[in-house]
Amino acid sequence: MTTDTTPKIGAAPPVVVTEPSATPSEPHRFSAGRALAWTFMILVILVSLFPFYWMLRTALSSNNALYAGSDNLLPVQTSAGGFERVFGLQTGQEAIDAGGAGQAINFWRYLFNSVVVATLITVGQVFFSAMAAYAFARLQWKHREKVFAFFLAGLMIPAIFTLLPNFVLIKQLGLVDTLLGISLPTMFMTPFAVFFLRQFFLGISREVEEAALMDGASKVRVFFRLIIPMSMAPITTLAILTYIAAWNEYFWALMVSYTDKSRVLTVALGVFKSQTPQTGPDWSGLMAATLVAALPMLLLFMLFAKRIVNSIGFSGIK
């Protein structure tokens, strides 16, 4: 994937982008087949996007009215009550009257926790992986290929297998229920990140690097002043994908966090769901919470859509 190396960040809103020269010059004649194909695609678009609209519609409805207006496509009895319950702006009694749980929920705290965890993981993982990738791509040392092969073998271990033993380790380190404990296992590297960046570093012309070394620059300097700036595009791509994955992680976070202190949004959402009255859940509150949890990644996606969409391919794997 060496597509799009222009370091323009966030310049592309999702809609205006066209692919230069990628479109084959096929005749766009109308046919029944094409109409059928477009109908199918429109259906796919609808199914992809409808749940997002439905979250918003439900979140803006008042919960007690949802029962009577379940077939209404617009918000029923428009109200910000769902969001107010999420952000703890309603008193316990108000929330219970509106069909909510009545417990105070601390959404800003969870939002903060999610940001801290995703940031720690992204910054650490991308930076340390880049350093290792540079050592594998450019430095000369004994056993380099062997160590790299060993790293690659790590790709084969499914993440899920290391969860239990890692939990035992985090517990022994006394880091259960801390943000650091959630971040630590993926903060240093993933085999994929190292592999992905190494591939890219290998493609950078050696001449520029040699010239800098001739001028007396050290390799450390070359790495920070030359390699990193020249690789901003793939590094950004990797960082965004890592951030999204870290933000969305549920299973590991669920194991490690017990209290509000370290609860991230995904886990909080699960707790919020289990607290809602079992008979007649607070759907407008739940959907408001769901939307708030999803929103940051949707915004990030809007900013970087072109980069993310174009980065998905076999670069890293093949």
């Binding site: 999702p14 084959p24 087949g33 094409r34 194909a37 695609m41 992809s48 749940p51 439905w54 949802l66 077939d71 340390f128 350093m131 290792a132 050592a135 594998f136 430095l139 000369q140 040392w141 004994k142 056993h143 160590v147 790590g154 271990i157 499914p158 993440a159 899920i160 297998f161 290391t162 239990l164 033993p165 035992v168 517990k171 296992p185 240093f188 590297m189 190292v194 070394l213 001739m214 620059a217 390799k219 450390v220 790495f223 969305n248 992680e249 549920y250 299973f251 995904t266 769901k273 959907m287 769901t290 949707l298 996606f301 859509a305 072109k306 969409v309 174009n310 391919g313 076999f314 093949k318």
Partner: protein, 306 residues
């Protein structure tokens, strides 16, 4: 593994004469990644295997108990049921998702290659499994969900999507298809880009229609990529947990108790880490076997394009 020399910041950046050796600097550069790799990937893997031969409740040190956990596993009907449920889920999830993703990818290539379309298709992938499960829990609610409201409106019986044993797994499979199909389609789409346009032009000159070209050009040339996509998605699919934990908690009556959820339950609900580890090893073994079989069956290593 790695030569352990004393680690001191190498200040020399000598580049010229003699064969270069950056061993010290290289060690410094790979040190953080190496520590992470050793501590959070290699060590837990070995430890996971070791713990599967022990009795361990997290509070007292693990006690070696030989094959006890494995014997118990073989005799545990809940384990076998979980394995069966997981397989059923993987087959539904992967079957539906792969076919749909392939169709979407081909259409994206043949209709329009605009980025916005790929962006929309990818959108569900941006939210967490938890979010996806929550939304569909609501949309598919028996009484109030818009899904069932529509079903009732067209005169059919309401469907207890997540509260009926027969429906639970297909519904969970569908929810995860919703989230992942766009990503899979984009992977396949990237593969389609590697097929030279000239092949299609030749096909068109020979009078082949779209369907014929799909069968005779796209599918054979895409095979290596398709099999890689399958290997990746199948491994991911076996690890299903989030959706089950949010939407059904394994119920009704074990009908959606996938292996990973059972492992979690045994470890954190009953604190039997040894037994949970043994089941994790079993899952790992299943994954290794499945991946190996897929690799052999789909001849992933060879391409027809050469």
């Amino acid at each position: 593994m790695v030569t352990t020399t004393s680690i001191r910041p190498a200040k020399t950046g000598r580049a010229r004469n003699g064969p270069r050796d950056d061993t010290r600097l290289a060690l410094l550069f790979i040190l953080p990644a190496l520590v992470g790799f050793a501590v959070f990937l290699v060590w837990p893997t070995l430890r996971g295997i070791y713990l599967s031969f022990t009795k361990f409740n997290l509070l007292t040190p693990p006690e070696f108990n030989g094959l006890d956990n494995y014997v118990r596993m073989v005799q545990d009907p809940v384990f076998w049921n979980a394995l069966k449920v997981t397989l059923y889920y993987v087959i539904l999830n992967i079957g539906f998702q792969t076919v749909l993703a392939l169709v979407i990818a081909v259409m994206m290539q043949r209709l329009t290659q605009r980025t916005w379309l790929r962006g929309i298709v990818l959108t569900p992938f941006l939210v967490s499994n938890v979010v996806a499960a929550m939304v569909f829990l609501w949309i598919l609610d028996y009484q109030l969900g818009i899904g069932n409201t529509i079903i009732a409106a067209i005169g059919l019986d309401r469907i207890p999507f997540l509260s009926d044993s027969a429906w639970a797994i297909p519904t969970i499979a569908f929810i995860n298809v919703w989230r992942h199909v766009g990503y899979t389609a984009l992977l396949i789409f990237a593969g389609l880009q590697t097929i030279p346009e000239t092949v299609y032009e030749a096909g068109r000159i020979d009078g082949a229609g779209e369907v014929r070209m799909f069968r005779s050009i796209t599918v054979p040339l895409l095979r290596p990529i398709l099999s890689l996509v399958l290997i990746i998605t199948v491994v991911g699919s076996f690890q299903v947990f989030d959706t089950v934990a949010i939407a059904t908690r394994g119920g009704p009556v074990d009908s959606s108790r996938v292996l990973q959820y059972y492992i979690y339950d045994v470890a954190f609900g009953r604190f039997q880490f040894g037994y949970a580890s043994a089941m994790s090893v079993a899952l790992l073994a299943v994954l290794v076997i499945v991946t190996f079989l897929q690799y052999r069956l789909t001849r992933a290593e060879s391409s027809d394009l050469a």
